[in-house]
Amino acid sequence: MKDSARHVVITGLGAAAAAGRGTGALLDLVLAGEPAFSPVTRFAVTRCRVTVAAALPGSPVLAGELAAVIADACDAAAMSSRDRAGSPLLLALHSDAAAARDPRAGQAIGGLAAGMAGRCGLAGTLRTYTTACVASSTATADAAAMIVSGQADRVVVAAGYLVDPDSFGVFDAGRALATDGQLRPFSAGRRGMLLGDGVAAVVLESAATARQRGATVLAWLAGWGRAGDAYHVCRPRPDGTGLARAIGNALRRAQVGPQEIGYINASGSGTSFGDAAESAALHRAFGPAVRHIPVSSTKSVHGHALEASALLEFVGTVLALRSGQLPVNAGFLAPDDECELDLILGTPRPRRPGYALSLNAAFGGANTALLVGVA
């Protein structure tokens, strides 16, 4: 697998989250383990039960943030104008609040997707993924599949979500947000999720293409897996079988054994049932050995960026692998019997594993696993 010319490598990354713009700011955030949640000032939250989110400062505009992050990733990958013009774009986006107010829009995700590839000098936007919290990891898996199949030599994947009054209002009404203002993955006393801005981009390409143009390989996308729960409209299957199958699919594709996994960036959204189901999935996939695999959910510091969260977490995972420090699982109060995991608490853990998993689970029982290998 590692020797295959069509294996998928990562040559560019870009990110923006509450801590600021740039991959350096994201790495600092996830390693410091200081949650970025603060009172929402972008819009009125007076009628809401919860009033905090992890937001970029000022009044960011999604199209601009997305274009900047894509440019950062393409620059990091040292892509020429010609390289960009030959690279299709896959996007993952949330519904557009402006389009919801415009009877002429005719499209819930709005018109942002159509112009983004052109604005960034890319070949074209093929489609936008809307699969909720696994939208951007699904886009990443499809990009990898396109490269392996020979449909493309290089694909840019980008995703963005900025906390807006509509999503905040509906998550608050659904009692999904943590009333204590902290997102506490896998902890006793966890009360739910919190929203956060997230914009991310990655450049994926075949090993052969990267080698031909002398690109620096940051890491490789060793495997990817997807599976469904067939269980419920919004709750995960409690025994974790769907997510465990996604993990198994990723490991099999990469021909990597469970014992080789040295870090898991968990979906860990801080919900009572979601984290318990994910813990069950990890025990199912890895057996007793899971107690020796360091686990954290970086949502605990940057919040849940909905359709963009999986890509933001994937970028964070790649950065962490390269840094030799594994991110902190913030917000932890006390162990929960339903989540017996080796959580990274307090300070980042110095470690240089060969492989790490980035996991995500979404409404509708959608599960994804992305397996990152060190370059």
């Binding site: 599976a227 409209v233 409404f363 509708g364």
Partner: protein
């Protein structure tokens, strides 16, 4: 709500040959079953308990129901094929009516109806139908930039060739401007179960057989 008779285009063919060309290739794939909505001028979408305001989720669920019934017969699918069947929901419009209802509540400083929380994601109705039918393959929702059905079929073929699914229930659902209730006039959609030619013919199972 059903807005009554409206000017509606006659049901089109389920897929033009150009669109089905996405299935050509070494994969040995075919359309195992198909359905469309509306199938006739007086077609009505059955509501789904817990889903309100918008016709989008009922449209997706009814397309899936008609297509899967034609292939699998009774619910659920048999375990072997069900576990290997993915769902790919593609929509250019998305759920306009739910998004508009949330925006309306927010703009009026009213509390958003809690039921809109989960139906605001297209995954929710996919979870509804996969739970009923026992379809445990990947769940994918997209908004293609162009050629929605062609793109959805190409994505389905990629998903199968990539290995995490053997078959894909492809649903293309578009919400019309009315959009605000089951049976709204200009909603339309197509569903196709794409899978291996080697899978047994449609609806051969009898009641009680798994």
């Amino acid at each position: 709500m059903n807005t009554g008779p409206t000017a509606r285009a006659a049901p089109s063919e389920l897929a033009a040959p150009d669109e089905l060309a996405a299935l050509d290739g070494p994969g040995g794939l075919t359309v195992l079953a198909r359905a469309q909505w509306p199938a006739r001028d007086d077609d009505v979408l059955p509501p789904i308990p817990g889903f309100i305001v918008s016709s989008f989720s009922p449209l997706v669920a009814e397309l899936a129901e008609r297509c899967l019934r034609r292939y699998f017969g009774l619910r659920p699918a048999d375990q072997v094929r069900g576990e290997r069947t993915a769902v790919l929901l593609a929509s250019t419009t998305g759920d306009l009516a739910t998004a508009a209802a949330i925006a309306e509540a927010v703009d009026a400083s009213r509390r958003v109806p809690p039921l809109l929380f989960y139906q605001s994601s297209p995954n929710a109705v996919v979870g509804h139908l996969t739970a009923r039918w026992g379809l445990a393959g990947p769940v994918v929702c997209t908004s293609p930039a162009a050629g929605t059905l062609t793109d959805a079929l190409q994505s389905a073929v990629l998903l199968i060739e990539d290995g995490d699914a053997a078959a894909v229930l492809v649903i293309v659902a578009e919400q019309g401007r009315a959009g605000a209730g089951a049976g709204a006039g200009d909603d339309h959609g197509t569903a196709m179960l794409v899978g291996p030619r080697a899978w047994p013919p449609a609806a051969t199972r009898q009641e009680g057989e798994r």
